[in-house]
């Protein structure tokens, strides 16, 4: 077990390291040079000043040298300053990460709470009217672009009905929990709907597969209560593939969070990454992306561990 964990951590660190180099290189390829941006803001700068600035910031060196320099700083906890916010990167990124985690955890819990009963019901009554309705909903959910779903919800609840705010985090001058919650409803709903559709499909197909197994017939034959057969004997096995999918879905959830946060002006990680890429705020974009990758990698690891917890046949020694 310890061995497995340490190998996986090593692998994950290598992925993050490779990622950091690739992203560092890619960001260097984006339009807009930080010195050019400074020059544009100050007409009195001369070419000599620009060269001096370039040397001060180390921009006259090769990309590999600069990357190693950055990496050295990063390992010591120095991630640089944000060009846009004039603050250390971590001071900006951490609260944003927390906001996104709220959003993702809410969406995740709600979608699991809805998807498991829906998927199990559909699997127990295949081809029934309800099953077909659930199936249609699932297809619709995975086919709807997140940004369009957000637009529809804004049009319906903010423009037509006027009951919920169209975006933001809270009403100015109001700090109650209820107010905060009102602003969470639409972003969470947007994020949840696509996720429910995806998870329900996997629960349903997993359950249909498992319900055909011999041991289910045995359990029924020996007179086990139907609810016990479905929820204990069958669901536990059906959940094994589903858990993996759900962890991978968290990556999708993160991508969805980027759109959702941008649409609803929710100050989270996704919006931060998007805004900082557009504003040439390279340090923030880099850390944001690396954090996003790390979160997905950690979730994948958790999925592997849950896998073993659900299925005693799998052990990582």
């Amino acid at each position: 077990m310890t061995r497995f964990l340490s190998i996986r951590f090593l692998q994950a660190s290598i992925v993050v390291l490779v990622m950091s180099f690739v992203v560092y290189g890619l960001i260097g390829l984006m339009p807009g040079d930080p010195i050019d941006i400074m020059l544009a803001g100050d007409p009195n700068m001369t070419a000599a000043d620009a060269a001096r600035l370039r040397a001060v910031y180390g921009l006259d060196r090769s990309i590999l040298e600069r990357y190693l320099d950055w990496l050295g700083g990063a390992i010591n906890g120095d991630f640089g300053y944000s060009r846009q916010h004039h603050q250390p990167v971590l001071t900006i990124v951490l609260p944003r990460l927390l906001n996104t985690l709220y959003l993702m955890i809410c969406a995740f819990l709600i979608s699991v709470a809805v998807a498991i009963p829906a998927g199990v019901y559909a699997a127990r009554h295949p081809r029934s009217l309800v099953d077909q309705a659930i199936n249609l909903f699932c297809f619709a959910g995975i086919s709807l672009p997140v940004f369009f779903l957000a637009l529809l919800l804004i049009i319906l609840f903010a423009v037509v009905l006027g009951v919920l705010p169209a975006g933001g985090m809270k009403t100015i001058g109001e700090s109650s929990f209820g107010d905060r919650l009102r602003y969470l409803v639409l972003p969470v709903a947007t994020l949840t709907i696509a996720n429910i559709a995806q998870v329900t499909r996997y629960v349903r197909s997993g359950m249909i597969e498992v319900l055909r197994e011999d041991y289910i017939r045995t359990a029924r034959a020996k007179g086990a209560n139907e609810n016990r057969v479905v929820w204990r004997h069958a669901l536990r096995n059906a959940m094994i593939p589903t858990v993996t999918i759900m962890a991978l879905e968290c990556g999708t959830l993160l991508s969805g969070a980027l759109i959702t946060e941008t649409m609803f002006s929710y100050l989270g990680m996704g919006k931060l990454i998007f805004d900082s890429i557009l504003a040439n705020d390279f340090n923030v974009a880099l850390i944001g992306l690396l954090f996003a990758c790390s979160v997905t990698l950690v979730l994948n690891l958790i999925a592997d561990l849950l896998y073993a917890a659900l299925d005693p046949r799998i052990s990582y020694r």
Binding site: L26, M30, F148, L151, L152, I208, L254, L289
Partner: protein, 319 residues
């Protein structure tokens, strides 16, 4: 798999005269596909949209309108005989822009799906056939790609300045650049599904007798992979590519919506929605039409993919 299906229909001459003539495998697939009603409707919708996209220049000529000509005196006109869906924020006919947008969105979906399927197929064949270190490396690469958050990575790739990677100015400044770029970057990230699929098929087939026979006859590796193994993987690849093209259209529209995909004045369903958030208070319907088209296309592709899956592999039906 088609080859398996064909064995059901073999009838020997004189064996049973009352039997109807044997059905070809493709006819059998079509019969099963027809039973999936949602897939049939989806196929109909896709054919209709594709026709509109192909005929777009003819429609523009017939209506006497230009989808890129700005007319600031006619902004946000309501629906009328001349403009069935009204005009957009620059006075252009919305219906015509939607038709031209479909041209781009469907083109991106089709071309990118073909590219990802080919890339994934080649990687899957190599991985499955050679095994060992090659396989381990390619599959770890696959796992690594899958674990990345897709959209942030695509945004970084979409933001790369083409002149800085050494592209000649003629290409970097061409108006079609955003189109090529989006096809390229989505292909780069989306090959994993078909790669795993083809690898699986290759692994199961490479120990089969007919492949071993080909090896014994001294067939080249390329011949074994493309003539003997690939045809058996075609139907799952087709299903995966159909489902993938739906996702690709979603990704394209999302990137275009964010302003990082297809660049105006070229229309795509995604970038028509770029300003949607500003106009939903005054013109909510303008924001809804392009979204409905994306939705209809993607759900049709998903249903058709589902139908094809059932048709090719009757065992999965109803799952």
């Amino acid at each position: 798999m088609v080859s398996v299906i064909s064995t059901e229909t073999v009838t020997r001459p004189g064996q049973d005269a009352a039997l109807p003539p044997p059905l070809s495998p493709s006819l059998l697939v079509w019969r099963r596909f027809k039973r999936h009603k949602a897939a049939l409707v989806g196929a109909g919708i896709l054919i209709f949209l594709a026709l509109l996209a192909i005929l777009a220049p003819l429609i523009a000529g017939w209506r006497g309108q230009d989808h890129e000509a700005v007319d600031l005196f006619n902004r946000f006109q309501p629906a009328s005989a001349a403009h069935p869906l009204g005009t957009d924020d620059l006075g252009r006919d919305l219906l015509l822009r939607l038709i031209y947008g479909g041209r781009i969105s469907l083109f991106v979906g089709l071309v990118t799906a073909c590219l990802t399927a080919s890339l994934g197929t080649v990687i899957g064949l190599i991985s499955g056939w050679y095994g060992g270190r090659t396989d381990a490396f390619l599959m770890r690469l696959c796992d690594g790609w899958i674990s990345l958050p897709l959209l942030p990575v695509l945004i970084v790739l979409a933001a790369v300045d083409p002149t800085k990677v050494g592209l000649p100015m003629a290409i970097a400044k061409s108006p079609d650049l955003s189109l090529y770029r989006i096809v390229l970057i989505i292909s780069l990230v989306a090959w994993t599904t078909s790669a795993r699929l083809v690898r699986g098929v290759t692994l199961t087939l490479k120990t089969r007798d007919f492949v071993q026979a080909a090896v014994a006859q001294g067939a080249s590796t390329a011949r074994i992979l493309f003539v003997h193994i690939l045809p058996n993987a075609l139907s799952p690849i087709l299903v995966a590519a159909t489902l993938a093209s739906g996702n690709i259209i979603l990704l394209e529209s999302t990137l275009s919506f964010l302003g990082l995909g297809i660049q105006p004045p070229v229309a795509s369903w995604g970038n028509i929605l770029t300003n949607a958030q500003e106009i939903i208070w005054s013109q909510p319907m303008q924001a809804i039409y392009p979204g409905i088209l994306i939705f209809a296309t993607v759900i049709s592709l998903n249903f058709v993919g589902d139908g094809l899956q059932d048709a090719f592999d009757p065992r999965t039906e109803g799952r």
